[in-house]
């Protein structure tokens, strides 16, 4: 049977300015890549539907401004997220070191159950690499997170990364999932039932038998 459930999750992209958060999102949702860097000044989001274990998962992915001066504001968006991508740029040692700061902010501001995943972006820029894959793995292990090296440019590991986090969030929320499920058929039946009842009531109270039904 085709399941008619809908589950909605919010995932958040975090990381220094310029690591490629917006590019990851554009690649994932629209399969597009724009090489020029336009800073996100604000908080943007896009929707995406995934099928995980036969469950239709709709994810809302929030793309945040990475610049430091906006961080006091962007932190306020953390608490609404169920999953967080911590993104660094493999060609920037600095962005990698800042992951610690991002992670501690997440600990402070995000809900306790939030799922995290470490992402080293720009894996195609081999020559400019400053952060070894092993370093990424080590950090991810220390935090108990999954780790992916991605390239929005070559579309490497993009779907895998997003799907993985969505799966983790799904697993972490499995118990509450039944509450989140909405059966469309039931909804319609219910609506029809209510309508019928409404009509019956009206018919009872009204002498006009021809009615409007």
């Amino acid at each position: 049977m085709a399941k008619q459930y809908d589950v909605l999750f919010r995932l958040l992209l975090l990381g220094d300015s310029g690591v490629g958060k917006t590019c990851l999102l554009c690649r994932f949702t629209d399969n597009e890549f724009h090489p020029s860097h336009i800073s996100t000044i604000g908080v943007d989001f896009k929707m995406k539907t995934l099928l995980i274990d036969g469950i239709k998962v709709r994810i809302q992915i929030w793309d945040t401004a990475g610049q430091e001066r906006y961080q006091t504001i962007t932190k306020q968006y953390y608490r609404r997220a169920q999953g967080i991508f911590l993104v660094y740029d493999i060609t920037s040692e600095r962005s990698f070191q800042h992951i610690m700061k991002w992670a501690s902010d997440v600990d402070e501001y995000a809900p306790e159950k939030v799922q995290k995943i470490l992402v080293g972006n720009k894996s195609d820029e081999v020559e400019k690499r400053q952060v070894a894959t092993a370093q990424g793995i080590k950090l991810a292990t220390a935090y108990g997170m999954d780790f992916f090296e991605t390239s929005a440019f070559t579309n490497h590991n993009i779907t895998e990364t997003f799907t993985r986090l969505a799966e983790q969030v799904l697993a972490a929320n499995k118990r509450d999932l039944d509450l989140l499920r909405i059966s469309i058929n039931d909804e319609i039946n219910l609506a029809a039932l209510e309508e019928e009842e409404g009509l019956r009531e009206c018919a009872g109270g009204d002498q006009d038998k021809s009615c409007w039904c």
């Binding site: 809908d6 929707m47 995406k48 001066r69 504001i73 306020q76 006009d208 409007w212």
Partner: protein
Amino acid sequence: MDQSAAISKTLENEENCTIVSFILVFLFVFRLVTSQVEVKIFIYKNRRMAITAEDVSLEDIIPISFDFAVAEGELLSCGSDITVRMSYQQEELNFKLPFGSHSRLFLSELNRAWSGKSYNNIKKVCKSPAVVPNFEWINKYQKNSKSLGVGKQVPAPLGTPLNKLSQQRKTGLFFIPEMTTCVHQFSQGITSREDRDELVRSSSHTPSNKAQILAMPQFGLRDNLIRCELLKNEEQYTYLEDFSFFLGTYNVNGQTPKESLRPWLSCTLNPPDVYCVGFQELDLSKEAFFFNDTPKEPEWTKAVSEALHPDATYALVKLVRLVGIMLILYVKKEHAEFISDVEAESVGTGIMGRMGNKGAVAIRFHFHNSNICVVNSHLAAHIEEYERRNQDFKDICARMEFHQLDNSRPPFTIIKHDVVFWIGDLNYRISNLDVKDVKELISKKDFEALHNYDQLKRQIDEEAVFVGFVEGEINFQPTYKYDTGSDTWDTSEKCRVPAWCDRILWKGKNITQQHYQSHMALKISDHKPVSSLLVTGRINSETYKKTFEEIVRNIDKLENECIPSVTLSKQEFHFKDVKYMQHQAETLTLYNDGQVPCQFEFIQKPNESTYCKSWLTANPHKGFIAQGGSVDIELEVFVNHMTAPNLNSGKEQIEDILVLHLERGKDYFISVSGNYLPSCYGTSLRLLCLMREPIHDMPPGTIETLTNGNDMNAENPLAIPKELWMMVDHLFRHAIKQEDIFQQPGLRSDFAEIRDCLDTGMPDSLPGSNHSVAEALLLFLDALPEPVVPYSFYQQCLDCCSNASHCEKVISMLPQCHQNVFNYLTAFLRELLKHTANNRLDVNILSTIFASLILKPPTKQDFAEKRKTQEFFYYFLNPESSTAQTSV
């Protein structure tokens, strides 16, 4: 249920009204009606569900003109009512709309009309100022409403009784507000409802609606859209002639399998993918009937499995039996993994409508992307009982229920399956034809003619049974009734008329029959077995997945495109050289580049009470932008006495980030920065006394250091701030006899010059008129972070206001610089009073003006307190009265 017809009747035809939206909630009905360029909301009242025009009465008409406003409350949760507040002139109307597309449509149309009014039509009106919407056409409704009025005798005058409406709403009366809007293309005279609907559909609000509804899971619209798209692209992922189902039915008349079933089950050239083999009358014994237990089950199962097509290996998926009715499902081994959700059920329709001698068994399963159900039934016997057989069929359909893994979902019935195979001894006979004639037609192999006398065919033609099912053409002779062990027709006493009792039917799409035949070679029973090979188009899961993903991606894309979006002319604003009380503004232009209209608002940041710092305002701070439209927002910086102290001292900077939020959309951050030039305005007396240089000449950081108390010049402060001295001295020298001094306002431009002068240097005289200098002095006193009489002394001053010596005593206790300033100012004012004849000042005027600046309360002041502060100050301006008081 549409109540709009009733309202339509009350409207005049020539107005070209178009129903754009129609909502029902507790009998609140909203509707948009268009007429030329004028826009109104009609509010109707009704006693009950509106059926005829008599059921509604016009309650009020609200024109959507310039003083109309509408605001939509925040949606608390998906599905909750939408709170809407409309205001018109001084009236406000609050109401709730039910969650849903109708409400959306209404609001978007309302907003369109409203914004159209304010942004577009204004221009039109302005061109010819004489033409102001006059809404003349409404008059006839007001007359009409008299005759229609059920609950109300006299129609309310325009715009007045909104508050009344809210009251009545509370008491549970019902209204039908209605709205007219200005949609130009509607004004050519649309008569038929179809035309209107078409226009409504084609009007530009649809995409926004679609997007919003798309996002609401409870409407299931998304899933329906996906399903719809999948159907459209069916051929892309469906292979025809891919899966073969062998269906066999055999009434074995309680016999044992004495001969091989191969001629029946292995009659196909290629091995079928699935076997569904059904038996009836497997065991006619009482034991089987009462205890549902029979040795025949394993015997026949073994016979079947031995007779399956030799060129393939099969797995037994499920076996189900009800007394003598048995169904076995086999699948080719390689397909086994694609079979899931297998459930078997049975329904007895025998004696008492329950017993298992008649009835059906069924197996349902999920195979690739289809839900398949196989039913094997044995319906009521006897030639005249065809209606009973119809009834059995219906009972089976109604009572056969398969449980789902998810218990919360309703059970699956036969008909809900994508594919249904129905086999069995259906027992329909050939009637209205003599045995002789039947046998003659059979011998001539004229099965087509014979089929016309078949009860099942007739019943199906009458749609009395098997509605929606298909049966292949019958090209075999009747399968009942033979003498056991032979091909001879029944020779018994009863001499039954031959009949096609054993049948195979199906229901579902993409199914073709490859054969439908009986098997005369088998002679165990008085029936002959029947088989059919049905081929179903199966879904290619690979392409299906691809198509599905493609559709989902497109819908996601559509949805993402419908997220409200704007472009901003600038996201960083810098205000250069911000000065005390000098207004600066920059324009931020928002352009709606999205596919939907959007509502924007600057929202509060956490832990902040307002959306921006108090020296900043955005005007307007919220609003609506039509698709493709734009709005200019003025970002204004203005530092006043409230904000100056912290900016002067360097505790705060001109720095803020505004969060511009689009409803159901993204947030934009707008940074505002600037450099502030500190001023003596808003700087404390103590600090000013410590500064021998103009404030602008102070090295950076000095003010902050001084504020914190680490002052190096502490031992040698000025007696009073030099800025104060300059102003007072200027007035003393030039304005002592100036008429109406301190009563006539100064000039803004003069003030800016005086402020700059005080902050940058020490010229011999101040610029500007005497009145401007006087005002600058008052502003200086007003801007002091701590008034001349510090807040902590305020209450004391009030307490002793009736005693002059006490008053003086309080002043003597003030910090030195405050005391100096106080004495200096009062001395100056007394000097002014000596020239009353010229400057027309008196002690009352001066004490009123200066008391409010020098003796300020930390919080609000009531009238009695104000009187006391003036009384207090009075002593110092009028030494005579003060001595008189003390002498008493």
